[in-house]
């Protein structure tokens, strides 16, 4: 991106618009935290500033929502889903692009069609497939569909990467007489590492925040994703708004913290992700 500007932006308008956008974006978070600090069990009103702030609400919410269990459950799902999905899409895209399998355009189109299917449209048959496989209420009923549902985007993403790889790289490998597996493992994988890292960030985030699949496949909220558990928590404690807000803050905190630390990776992954999607 060039930083040379011959037509300088209108600095004040720009700053004001940006400032307004930032305020609107932050307002819900501020409101949530403000409410989480009110005296527990009270019915707060909108603009009361909590005095003194009740930080112990976060401790209560941490225990009541069983946060460590939830974090572990979400992390477990990420571990079950992301490496498997990455392995499948890297191999598939490598086969489609680099090894030029017969029928490659058709296979790619088949995956591409999956990009447009809303999860809600598959959730009913997926539930019965998992039920018939006796997997409902196990984490496999969440993980397996997610792996499959990530494939269209993943294949699309890795195909774009392999298309951008210089031809010489693959040719060098075949001259060396390296088998296709060795070429993938030792020549293509190191080059693909940044693309794979971005994809892993996206897959992890989607899994952590996944709601409908976790909701349908798992009755026990403690074995769902954090997002799925948050929905159930809201239902169970609907009378204690302060507690709900405190729990919501705690449950959002991990992704926000990871985001702030890995900001560059996240922003580029999300931007490229929507472009490719």
């Amino acid at each position: 991106m060039s930083t040379i500007r011959t037509s300088p932006p209108r600095p004040w308008t720009g700053r004001i618009v940006l400032f307004l956008l930032v305020i609107i974006t932050l307002a819900p978070f501020v409101a949530l935290i403000g409410t989480a600090l009110q005296p527990s069990g009270t019915v707060p009103t909108g603009l009361t500033i909590p005095s003194p702030p009740h930080f112990e609400n976060f401790v209560t919410a941490f225990q009541v929502a069983q946060l460590p269990t939830l974090m572990f459950s979400s992390a477990l799902l990420v571990v079950m889903v992301v490496p498997a999905a990455i392995l499948l899409v890297v191999m598939a895209a490598y086969g489609i692009v680099q090894l030029r399998i017969p029928g490659a355009p058709f296979v790619f189109l088949l995956f591409l069609l999956g990009l447009t299917i809303p999860y809600e449209s598959l959730i009913t048959p997926l539930y019965y497939l998992m039920r018939d496989a006796h997997l409902v209420n196990t984490r496999f009923a969440i993980a397996l569909p997610l792996i499959a549902l990530y494939l269209p985007f993943g294949v699309f993403w890795m195909r774009a990467h392999f298309l951008g790889v210089p031809k010489e790289l693959g040719e060098a490998a075949s001259i060396d007489g390296a088998g296709s597996w060795k070429a993938l493992r030792y020549i293509h994988l190191p080059v693909a590492a940044p693309a794979i890292a971005s994809l892993a960030v996206l897959f992890s985030l989607w899994t952590w925040n996944q709601f409908i699949i976790a909701l349908v496949m798992m009755d026990d909220p403690l074995k769902r994703t954090v997002a799925g558990a948050l929905g159930a928590f809201q239902g169970e404690h609907s009378t204690d708004l302060v507690l709900i807000c405190a729990a919501a803050v705690l449950m959002m905190l991990p992704t926000i913290l990871v985001f702030i630390f890995l900001q560059k990776l996240f922003v580029s992954a999300l931007l490229q992700g929507s472009v490719k999607g």
Binding site: R100, Y128, T255
Partner: protein, 282 residues
């Protein structure tokens, strides 16, 4: 041929858990089935329900109304924001970039909980209105039949505006600066400059924004589930919530599947013209 060995594992999983459920959705949609007992062939009855039952039609209509908030409002505001902040490279710009992305990384459920509180009768929005003397405008936004859907829709605007701003900013950064010089020489003001140079320059990014937000509007679920469950009445019912309710609360698998098939077709009907229209002119 050995290349197929690399593709087959992914293709197998895809066939098992995407293509098969897709085919099953179509199959179920022609049956009456409660998920446990025997099923009965009913032909197109479930589709007739989708297109004649006011609840099903209402959900579809709501999805289209949400497009105003998810797509029109979010993309228009993002265009404005990206255009007026074009070239801003200060530290401020980077900080706001981080902030604008926050809605993209939190669970939508969390966003739903925050916004549900904002909209409460005694919540921050109403209290603010009262504090500045506009108390007459205060209302229970989510339980009022007239305001519930716009209230849910605005959450979509909030979610997507940052993503679209960032995408469009990136696009505007790639526009050749000599085009702006030429526009200046021609005596173009900021508005003409925007329509003559900026807007055509971000066509690709605009296509992405429109496509992504249209799909988000049609397939909304999490926010609606958390904030209203489709209520009051069916004022905020959307296809995703409707499918979930019919399938897992009413156990009418056929009816839910017909709605699921219609939703898939709607996505294609909406997305394909956008893609073709925008691609043609490139």
């Amino acid at each position: 041929m050995s290349g197929w060995l690399y593709v087959l594992p992914a293709l197998g999983v895809y066939a098992w858990l995407v293509i098969q459920p897709f085919a099953l959705s179509v199959q179920y949609s022609f049956y009456q089935w409660n998920g446990i007992g025997p099923s009965k062939w009913v032909g197109f009855d479930n589709y007739i329900e989708v297109f004649s039952d006011p609840n099903r039609l209402g959900a579809i209509a709501n999805a289209f109304k949400l497009m105003f908030f998810y797509t029109v409002l979010a993309v228009a505001l993002a265009l404005l924001a990206a255009a007026v902040t074009r070239g801003m490279t200060s530290r401020w710009g980077r900080v706001s970039q981080t902030v604008l992305f926050l809605p993209q990384v939190i669970p939508l459920v969390g966003a739903g909980i925050a916004w549900e509180w904002l909209y409460q009768p005694q919540g921050p929005i109403n209290e603010t209105l009262r504090a500045i003397g506009l108390g007459a405008l205060a209302k229970p936004w989510l339980s009022d039949f007239d305001t519930a859907l716009p209230a849910v829709g605005f959450v979509g605007t909030w979610l997507l505006i940052g993503l679209c701003t960032m995408l469009l900013s990136t696009g505007m950064g790639k526009i050749d600066s000599t085009l702006y010089d030429a526009a200046k020489v021609d005596g173009a003001g900021p508005v003409r400059e925007f329509f003559a140079v900026t807007l055509p320059g971000v066509r690709a990014e605009l296509t992405v924004c429109v496509t992504v937000t249209l799909i988000a509007a049609l397939a909304s679920f999490d926010v609606v589930y958390v904030m209203t469950k489709g209520g009051p009445g069916v004022a905020t019912m959307v296809p995703g919530m409707d499918i979930y309710t019919i399938a897992f609360a009413q156990n009418r698998i056929g009816a839910a599947s017909a709605m699921a098939v219609v939703l898939m077709i709607l996505v294609l009907i909406v997305v394909i013209p956008v893609q073709r229209l925008m691609a043609e002119k490139r």
